[in-house]
Symmetry: C2
Subunit: 538 residues, 2 copies
């Protein structure tokens, strides 16, 4: 059982900006935290950062970069592990605060805390292994004709200060010490977090933890900062700042594109890795549907409503051929959806966004309401909803391709295989696509599955898109508009690749080469030497 | 000895657009080719592509993608090798035409042809080796608690049609079948080349060769196209086209940034890999300068004027501490520069650009003309020039950081170490930086060398920046404004990484997995399986 908050919380909800190791609150504007499930204010007045505080933050980050950049892989790994330890040390106070600010159940927050710590530790291991720097060595050939070949060695180096926009739907795993922060720090860059306005207290607690970890492990002042402010104003100032070298964002299409535009209009354009809207189509192929309509409906009722539908990978579209078994599927899905209780969404904005988007979708010509959860809704509760439309109706109306962020899914009844393929060809980029199929379906519908691969970052067979494994092979990011840059992932160890660039050394003395490129390969990293992969010395 | 052109040229200079395998000339506007060394017109009326022809080109490329994407690595490798063979088979006709259109000596064109063929063959080898797709496999753990772990496998896949802007300064190696085309084709994407207006005939001959190679090796119609048109108009249309998925460009900062802006303003933003301006600073450290002033001057007189200074990596800035040996260096450099004969530049635009930029540089306060080549200049000949300025003068005037594209270099006399570091800190991103140093200099001036690394894609020790080795460890691209995206290279086998994205497969049946991800690893590519690198089966 959790103790009452005032007894267990040793931390003052000071509401200040964390600028490197210093707390600062020179501003006059402030925000309060709200419990979305009760509408009541939570403790803490969160002071917005002033322009001068933003400037100071960026200066401190730039100064820290020169020092942090040179820390060894082991030193950085210890820092990341210390962050995980400090987060755990926040104990119930963090769990309670995060749960109160987001309406997410405490059990979910505890699970997410484990994931967040797991991510930090995964990057620590990745640093210790070291091969991610993609060292390549082409040895000199002084006697080559007509010109001698120089010695050229290349590896990845960090880019500089990274601004991270915390996401609302994962107040730990995609927020202050989430995957973006972990990967940017692992790459060797200082991080400046724009705290999410809907969980400012959670962000403060985690920022405190990160700074304690930084001090304990000897990291420079400025390696991490956490600022409060109004989204657009603070976000724009951070992205425009000339000392910012890269940006990571998870959120809406409109938010991500506004930041992308701002970043491209700078004198020095910088990348914005925005993970944005996705409707995550699920194609149910005929033999699978005929065999398992009822089971599929039960599995998908769960996936559509998991976490009140507030996952980037929520299955927003279910595509199938019209058939008696599709009717069975819809009937069973409707039964399940009606019985699922509405639950509070993350905050007022998310709730209002869901209500409006759901209403817009329902108002579209040809869209049938198949089922919605019964009962009254209070306190920003989102109502689980399933609708349907014909393939023809879907193809005629691009509004139906817009994400309805929440517990909502649209079933598309296609009249034949050609129409089904056309429906998929009409879609923009997606984080995920899923195919529910027997082996015979896979063989018969290869073109459909290939098309799903063409538009997606991850192609799932006989599963649900919700649930994003943190691992080396994960791709979380897809062709536009799922991401601004589908060549990178925001989940898994490859997320580090967003925040580095290659640097070649030509005829560099051994004394000046980084460890990863020295002849004797002291870190035993895997390298490509004259085209041959190995992890030994030269 | 080369035969007269009319005897050896078996190819009709038809001047048409190559749209897939078809030649098309529906337009009314046309361009003529000019010999910059004589001012005379060359054979061929080059018909500009119409909007309908552009549309047809993009449709054909998109259709070709679906087929080409599925060709095996071996099939694509044979295609690239066939292109190299067909280019060689063009024989003297190509050499003569390229030389006449660019004023580059025939020996240089022959060398560049070798490099171009070498690039194509290097990508063929890279495809056959196969490990570049960065396959990662995380095996399932069905018994994991609290949730089973799915099987996830990831590798790089092509993005779709790539538009390549041919560069003027390498009419073969950075043009129609140059590194951008070779890497985009190797990645599995169709290519549409915007022919450079200053070597339209060369582009036509090479486009013909590519299409012959495509037919001989069974590649789909539309895998390659070559269009003529006015730079801004055709370029904008191609970048705006919704079927274009990526763009490669080598040229001016203004040209690259205009394309980047256009690409970011699309409904679906796409990357523009623009390799743009760079002044490639060279720092001459004191002990090296004291020991070898005269030799350094001779080496650099050659590098500054190589190819009439028309290399992206031309050393435009020489930075050193003021000293008697710097005076010796400048005196010797001046002697050499005065004796170097002016030579025709690539075309009228390049020549006029050089004259104007040189004039602007000479007019800046505090800039001293140290030496210029003697004698009259005719036929777009660029006059080798060396100037100098104090460190203070350089820091006060950002105009001096602008590239003077041609045989020009500015020597910066710094009054002390701090000023030298400040000069380097004031600079934008560079393709290359060079340090001329003894071992003692390297130890003593680590901060200077680190700063050069911070701003550059390639850091050269005791050499010249001109000359870009085509190899695995090469980085040709640097922080902005050297490139729009310093995370990628346009030279060397890693150039392929610009035109791919990762795709994850979750719980995918073996039958549907690409060869690189199958359990038995039939292609024996290097993969990371559950964190362990190996090239065997699972």
């Amino acid at each position: 059982m959790l103790l009452p908050l005032f007894l267990i919380n040793p931390f003052n909800m000071h509401g200040k900006n964390q600028i490197g190791f210093a707390l600062s609150s020179n501003g006059e504007l402030m925000q309060k935290a709200v419990n979305p499930a009760t509408g009541q204010f939570l403790s803490g007045d969160f002071i917005n950062a002033t322009d001068e505080e933003i400037e100071l933050t960026m200066e401190r980050a730039t100064a820290a970069f020169a020092v942090y950049n040179k820390k060894s892989a082991e030193e950085k790994a210890l820092f990341l592990e210390a962050i995980a330890d400090e987060i755990l040390a926040l104990g119930d106070a963090l769990v309670r605060r995060a749960s109160s600010e987001t309406a997410l159940p405490e059990a979910r927050i505890i699970g997410e805390r484990g994931r967040t710590m797991g991510q930090l530790k995964a990057f620590a291991s990745h640093l210790r292994e070291g091969s991610w720097k993609e060292a390549r060595i082409d040895l000199a050939q002084p006697d080559r004709q007509p010109l001698p070949k120089p010695d050229i060695r290349k590896m990845l180096v960090p880019v500089g200060p990274v601004v991270v926009f915390a996401a609302s739907n994962f107040p730990l795993a995609f927020s202050t010490a989430g995957g973006d922060t972990a990967s940017a720090l692992a790459a060797g860059n200082p991080v400046i977090v724009k705290a999410h306005g809907a969980h400012l207290g959670t962000s403060q607690l985690v920022a405190d933890a990160i700074c304690r970890a930084a001090k304990k492990t000897g990291m420079p002042d400025g390696v991490f900062s956490n600022l409060n402010g109004k989204g657009y104003q603070l976000g724009t100032a951070l992205v425009k700042h000339p000392k910012t070298k890269s940006v990571a964002f998870t959120g809406s299409l409109s938010g991500g594109m506004a930041l992308h535009k701002t970043a491209q209009e700078r004198a020095e354009p910088i990348p914005v890795f925005a993970e944005m809207g996705s409707i995550n189509p699920v194609v149910m192929l005929p033999k699978k549907m005929d065999a398992e309509a009822v089971q599929l409906a039960d599995v998908y009722a769960g996936s559509i409503t998991l976490g009140v539908g507030q996952f980037c990978t929520n299955p927003g579209l279910i595509v199938a051929l019209d058939s008696p078994s599709l009717n069975d599927f819809i009937a069973q899905l409707s039964l399940s959806i009606k019985k699922i209780l509405p639950a509070s969404m993350l905050n007022e904005n998310v709730y209002k966004g869901y209500v409006a988007a759901r209403e817009t979708a329902l108002a579209q010509s040809g869209v049938t309401l198949e089922a919605e959860a019964e009962g009254d809704t209070v306190n920003f509760e989102g109502r689980p909803t399933v609708t349907s439309v014909s393939g023809e109706g879907f193809l005629k109306n691009t509004t139906l391709q817009e994400e309805v962020f929440g517990p909502y899914s649209l079933v598309i009844r296609c009249s034949n295989k050609e129409e089904l393929l056309e429906v998929l060809q009409s879609m923009g980029g997606q984080l995920t696509s899923t195919v529910m199929a027997t082996e015979a379906d896979v063989a018969e519908h290869a073109a459909v599955i290939e098309q799903l691969g063409n538009i997606s970052g991850r192609l799932i067979f006989n599963g649900v898109p919700t649930g994003v494994e943190v691992c080396s092979a994960m791709q979380h990011g897809g062709p536009f508009p799922a991401s601004t840059d589908g060549r990178f992932t925001s989940v898994g160890t490859d997320a580090i690749l967003r925040f580095v660039r290659p640097l070649s050394y030509q005829n560099c003395p051994q004394s000046f080469l980084p460890e990863e490129l020295k002849d004797n390969n002291p870190l035993q990293v895997w390298r490509v030497v004259d085209g041959v992969r190995n992890n030994g010395p030269i």
